[in-house]
Subunit: 341 residues, 4 copies
Amino acid sequence: MSKVRVGVAGYGVIGQRLADGVARQEDMELVGIVDVAPTLAIRALAEKGMPYRLFCAAPENMPKFEEAGIPVSGTMEDILSQVDVMLDATSAGIGRKNKELYVKHGVKAIFQGGEKNDVAEVFFHGYANYEKGVGKDYLKLTSCNTTGLIRAVDCLDRAFGVERVVVTIIRRSADPGDTHRGVVDLALVEPVPNHQAVDLMHIMPHVKATGVLVHVPTTHGHIITVLATPKREITKEEALAEFRKHPRIRVVRIADGFNSNAAMFRYARDLGNPRGDMYEIAVFEETIGFSGKDILFAINIPQEAVVIPETMDGIRACMKMQTVREEALALTNKYLGLKPR
Amino acid sequence: MSKVRVGVAGYGVIGQRLADGVARQEDMELVGIVDVAPTLAIRALAEKGMPYRLFCAAPENMPKFEEAGIPVSGTMEDILSQVDVMLDATSAGIGRKNKELYVKHGVKAIFQGGEKNDVAEVFFHGYANYEKGVGKDYLKLTSCNTTGLIRAVDCLDRAFGVERVVVTIIRRSADPGDTHRGVVDLALVEPVPNHQAVDLMHIMPHVKATGVLVHVPTTHGHIITVLATPKREITKEEALAEFRKHPRIRVVRIADGFNSNAAMFRYARDLGNPRGDMYEIAVFEETIGFSGKDILFAINIPQEAVVIPETMDGIRACMKMQTVREEALALTNKYLGLKPR
Amino acid sequence: MSKVRVGVAGYGVIGQRLADGVARQEDMELVGIVDVAPTLAIRALAEKGMPYRLFCAAPENMPKFEEAGIPVSGTMEDILSQVDVMLDATSAGIGRKNKELYVKHGVKAIFQGGEKNDVAEVFFHGYANYEKGVGKDYLKLTSCNTTGLIRAVDCLDRAFGVERVVVTIIRRSADPGDTHRGVVDLALVEPVPNHQAVDLMHIMPHVKATGVLVHVPTTHGHIITVLATPKREITKEEALAEFRKHPRIRVVRIADGFNSNAAMFRYARDLGNPRGDMYEIAVFEETIGFSGKDILFAINIPQEAVVIPETMDGIRACMKMQTVREEALALTNKYLGLKPR
Amino acid sequence: MSKVRVGVAGYGVIGQRLADGVARQEDMELVGIVDVAPTLAIRALAEKGMPYRLFCAAPENMPKFEEAGIPVSGTMEDILSQVDVMLDATSAGIGRKNKELYVKHGVKAIFQGGEKNDVAEVFFHGYANYEKGVGKDYLKLTSCNTTGLIRAVDCLDRAFGVERVVVTIIRRSADPGDTHRGVVDLALVEPVPNHQAVDLMHIMPHVKATGVLVHVPTTHGHIITVLATPKREITKEEALAEFRKHPRIRVVRIADGFNSNAAMFRYARDLGNPRGDMYEIAVFEETIGFSGKDILFAINIPQEAVVIPETMDGIRACMKMQTVREEALALTNKYLGLKPR
């Protein structure tokens, strides 16, 4: 079988990692990436010797690429004639405009969390609703927080059933290096319910969810506290066993030094992961507690990379590479090196 | 009736505000404050013209006070011969040592949250267990987070009954100006249950409580999300009505700009409150939500000043100034300018 | 002599403090303040009982003020008919539009640092070029950093002559409570020369100045390191003596605990200054050093309040209340409680 | 020629990177690393499959390693019998104690910046005083800030001569993930002169240096502004040409997006550098300015990795692998992939 041909539009924080993720899928071919200007990410690509072909979506900026000595392989239209599916990780609002081109070229597309849901047919999460994406033309991925949160809740739900969820999201307010957003000495509160809870109910309609979101001055990972009501009483050991079996969840111990979002980032750097990225969310073992039947725990969401595996799942679904959920997830996990730990 | 004579040991973040609080109680006399070195707080006192008498608990440091031109009115023993009750806001561990002197001089004392509970006879919260403190010699106040949290929970509990509470505490990791602690770009997670939940159950034994505490890089107020299970179904309006009636709780609206711990601090500064302090906790109105019968809401705890009113209550209790809770609270509130808003 | 009648347009971080500053000048009358919406600052004014009259510059927002229970005394045109001079502290760009109204009503105006220089006849600093402002209709104040920097440089210049200045400005990236700007875990570098050096040369054309500006994640004060070349060799004692004589400069010692922008803020709070404000810049005594003939030192700029005294000077100049610089400065200082310490 | 056998004591932030640096030197053999507990760094090493052998310097902790499933290859004494030189990157104070063992085993050693200078015979910087280290038994490296600063100053000095230097060091106050230090919303000023200036004069005695150090709440790189007086007038182009020729200096442009310490870190991550590390300091091109003859510029110091190349130089010097400076530097640079860009 020939490889599925994939392009990535928008080579920012998410786009770079999507490109790397596709490059690791042995049954996919990364045709190239698209951007509009010689950003730091593009300059780094050039310094690495252009492992990916670059297409320019803003012809008026071609002189800037030339001046920077960055080779360009063509235009947006050029790459669209060579791919089966585009991963659109452009800024919010651009994806919707790009979609017209995708439709024109008969190219499927997967949009990231910034776009509104109605840009796509299905609001998608690899683990929670893979089947809904099979064969569809346009998917929209859950955002980073929602992706990680659903991973944990879906994990418990498939094992024990989950009836409701109440979350507090302690959100990093900027990505590392961001200069266009961020707060200083501030914990900023948003109205209830937070969109992640609403999104969770969209993907998992049998769960009642609500929560509060608070922005804080950190860059390396969201922390979410989750209170979940399982269908039956469960023990800490049962919950831990399920989390540990999950290839995209790491159970870590505060006592071992995994005490924060930054410790998780440091560990990923020390592992030698490219960019210090981690695909897995972490469950802090010592934060698992109970209030009556309800289980409480805290997770870390590495916001830069967490959506990559589920987006790979999305390619598998929309391209019908695998129609059975478990087979698709297993392949994504295998190629990304994800396994129970 | 002659005024109750009060001293304050430790003129730091809390001690300064305790002294100001006592000075505003018309039925108390602030005899003086005690410290060991010419700190910034003491220097500010001197620049203001020594509105409070200063006693020095470290005779070896007297030359430093002299060099700084700060008048000293005597020693620790001197002040102990002139007071009925000491408010001990010294660093953790010092209070226990000071207690020997208090016992020796037959002086009552109220210790702040840093000390271990067994330093005192009663673990005290003005609103939640005033009666327990009446006539006792040694009280220990709840810490800042616990004081504010109990205020909110006790408020609901007296109106509707509360069966259980699950909290996420987003804790400021340093006070403004602190150089001896603090985290950078980090959200640090602690094991479940957090001590505030345990302390809440100590004070309100009929409530089951647990929760997670996360340290973040802010200085102006803890944010706590509270999920509380009332004894019966309540509405948002009912909850709001109770919060609004409480003289030590402000209901604020995110839509009006009260969106964060820092906004509350800014508002208190703009009000002209000394030091930009606020005694009241805030409930963010738009964070009130429901998950089944459970009520969810977020509060702001102004950590520097929040314990002052309950400490004033403590003086009233241990000195038997009022034996009826409502009368004591009403007087503290009146003198501190606290009223429903 | 009747009092000079002053209005303040824009009741934000600077406008609030300008209003307070005017209210303290015994030879001025604060006619009122102007704003467009019931911000937190306006709500605080209302909670304080409206010590200042409020005029509304956005009639369409009147219902919002009504809903919030905030009394409004009239429109922008109303206040313009009652004042001699307006202090315009509106957002950048608004002042220029307001100027048309000021011209129409024959009202003088002083614009804050955010406006472009050409909005006014004179780029003004109370200490450095008072004479230039005398009798003029429109002044523009130097920005917070420049105001504080010039204070220190002018102080040395008048005593010893200063030939050149090289600065590193470590700029706070947000005011306390700001949610619309700020950086997280970032020190952001700007091209040389920074605008403060350029502005200094505008005000003090005999000094050569350049420097670098770096934005950092703090809210309480800019720190500037200054390397200045005096006309003759000077000693640390000589420099200290001049700084100490200056009513708007505080010489502080790191050894005493004045070690940071935040320590200065904490001290101002502990002094009981409204809002924890400080009009004075601080020179950290132990940072005074020499490199050959050049003198090095670090200063703290309390960005929220530092421009207030020089703006009061500006009123005195443009209204010809005093034509002699020293007399004007002395009155501003007296009414603001500024004196050598 | 057989390879020089190297061990690393202390597998923390610096030790990890030293080990990686040695492993890249084709004429050296990394015998192993030493630590006392199963830290996150050691756990990451284990998860990577133990590419380096681990020796345990705290026999009492062996059960902890066992429990964590981390294989240990021996004790401190074991590794000392197998190496020619130890790189000691233990916490301050431990290196001095370790030195007794090094002496006992006849092993040379290079200490990192935390130790006091008198622990070694020579205070060493690869570029600035290579010759002094040749054949010596004990070297102490300059600290991260000083290493980077000297690189830049030495670069100009060799080309044009440098007479004096005045610096402002904007110091990151914690490494990523640190929980034991850090400041929140604070710029903390230290007395003049900063130790880096003093250290620079130690290494480059013909240069007069002073400066101020300010701690800020960032984790990714120190920013230093340097004012240097060259022996003759130079142009921006001349300076740039020298910086660009230097294999351990990157000239970057703010206009291209390299605007901060965090942008440099992000770029290093995007380059795929292990841990997102960068050995090179950066000169921000647009910060180069002049004040008379003096040249001003700002540099970024990636504090986690900057000392690695100079430590490799140190091995070459003390082991007399190369007696000629240029040959040693060229080999280190070649193996670390450092070249003019």
